[in-house]
């Protein structure tokens, strides 16, 4: 007990709460301030590591959404393409043996019902299928760009990725409300993952910028 109270260098007695030997100035233990600083440093490291983990997860989600958009876009393209081509073949086989008069009547009926002649309707349907693919490819490229950007600027990149993701959900839901329920668990994971990445990226940047 008394051994602990003596200065290791000059054996002088140390007062309660003192960190330095009052006789020779020897530092016996770290000061409360130094202990607080050490605690602060450790906490800062663990907080920042937690933020970096969330940012990495968010980036992973952006990449996953990009890949899913690409694969989903290709999948729907081939499904819609074969379905459209089948419908076109079916309809063409029905009018294959028609006389020019019957064909003209068919076109007139078609025009009345859809506002398009047969050739226009075929172009329109094929154009829609190609357009859907183009839209999904552009979207996948946008997500991939955001994924790359999130490496250097995670805050704006993750926030814009979240906004774009919400926009796609909303636009799909307006086209077909049933789409909203499809894969809802994944959607919630993506939104929560991106949201916490935005929060972590903002706070991480502010902590890094602080003097």
């Amino acid at each position: 007990m008394d051994e602990n109270r003596a200065c290791p260098r000059c054996r002088a007695v140390r007062g309660p709460g003192e960190s330095f030997c009052s006789a020779c100035g020897f530092k016996i233990q770290s000061t409360p301030q130094e202990q607080r600083d050490r605690f602060d440093r450790l906490r800062s490291i663990s907080v920042k590591q937690g933020q970096l983990r969330k940012i990495r997860t968010g980036r992973g989600w952006i990449l996953a959404v990009s890949v899913l958009t690409l694969l989903g876009g290709l999948f729907f393209y081939f499904v819609a393409k074969s379905e459209t081509e089948r419908q076109i073949r079916d309809a063409e086989s029905r009018i294959a043996g028609a006389t020019p008069e019957q064909r003209a009547e068919f076109d007139a009926n078609m025009k009345k019902a859809t506002g398009m002649t047969w050739d226009e309707a075929v172009r329109h349907d094929r154009g829609r299928v190609a357009g859907l693919l183009a839209m999904n490819l552009v979207l996948a490229a946008v997500y991939f760009g955001l994924y790359l950007w999130a490496r250097s600027q995670p805050f704006p990149a993750a926030l814009i990725a979240l906004l774009v993701y919400l926009a796609v959900l909303v636009l799909n839901a307006i086209l077909d409300p049933n789409m909203l329920a499809q894969g809802w668990l994944v959607k919630i994971f993506v939104i929560v993952g991106l949201g916490s990445a935005v929060s972590a990226a903002y706070q991480h940047r502010k902590l890094q910028e602080a003097p």
């Binding site: 309660p16 960190s19 006789a23 020779c24 154009g127 919400l166 909303v170 502010k206």
Partner: protein, 283 residues
């Protein structure tokens, strides 16, 4: 816990008494101000030699905990932007879904407009000093004012051509904002689509959202985020790119003029030209 000598804690034992500062002892330490023991050569608390001149005061440093608390509070403020935006988006989605389900478009638009006004008004009231300053600022510099008036026409032309070109490429029928106001009078359309849209969208995006983000993040990020959010709120795939650019223009006006009046005017002119084009244009 089981250590005999707790650092910093009072330990019973025979120790020369500590003389309080200002007492009869050796007085207070020049560096840390804590009492110096009788006959001591160094301060026991900070190690400063007795009698030496005080060292320069260390720069006060924010502890990490305090910094972390401050940054979390700041984030709460920034995340208000996201909550506010999600509320606006929810109103738009519900309106679109209700209209798709067969509700009367005119009534749905009016209700949505009133809701948007209420939500934006509430957000503006929460940041009232800032929004009032933006609205009251009459610093409409003539060159910028002239630019807004002149640029409105080519801007409308470009956006209109871009959107209708995209719609044509994707074989989608061009949407007309006026259709919902069929038979209700042109005045309603001007009120809802020009005046309300300009006032409330600008207050929401260039006022509240821009203001909060600007204080916390870089100007380029503020512009980009507000513009993308603004474009998405219009719920049109074909307008996404063009309205992001429109949002950048309006945000730039807000940034340069430091007020809301110019972006409101530009927004009003743009929507007005859209309506005029639909009413009197060739379609």
């Amino acid at each position: 816990m089981t250590d005999g000598a707790t650092p910093g804690g009072p330990v019973p034992g025979s120790v020369p008494p500590v003389v309080p500062a200002g007492g009869a002892g050796a007085g207070a330490c020049a560096a840390c101000g804590r009492p110096i023991r009788e006959g001591a050569a160094f301060c026991g608390f900070c190690g400063h030699p007795v009698g030496a001149p005080p060292p320069p005061a260390p720069r006060p440093r924010e502890s990490f905990s305090a910094l972390h608390r401050r940054v979390s509070r700041e984030w709460e403020e920034v995340s208000f932007v996201i909550k506010f935006y999600v509320a606006l988006l929810a109103i738009q989605i519900v309106t679109a879904v209700v209209i798709k389900a067969g509700a009367d478009e005119f009534t749905a638009y009016l209700v949505a407009d009133a809701l948007l006004a209420v939500v934006t008004g509430a957000a503006a009231a929460m940041h009232w000093t800032e929004v009032r300053a933006l609205l009251a600022r009459p610093a409409v510099r003539p060159p910028l004012f002239a630019l807004v008036l002149v640029a409105a026409f080519p801007l409308y032309g470009l956006i209109h051509a871009f959107v209708s070109g995209l719609q044509a490429a994707f074989h989608v029928e061009a949407s007309r904002s006026l259709d919902a106001f069929e038979g209700r009078g042109f005045g309603w359309a001007v009120f809802v689509l020009c005046i309300n849209a300009a006032v409330f969208e600008e207050t929401a995006f260039r006022g509240v959202i821009f203001g909060i983000l600007r204080r916390r993040v870089r100007i380029a990020e503020t512009l980009m985020i507000t513009s993308v959010a603004f474009a998405i709120l219009h719920l049109s795939v074909f307008a996404l790119v063009s309205h992001t650019l429109l949002g950048l223009y309006l945000g730039w006006l807000r940034h340069r003029s430091g007020g809301l009046l110019l972006p409101m005017l530009a927004h009003f002119l743009h929507n007005g030209l859209v309506l005029a084009g639909e009413r009197w244009g060739t379609g």
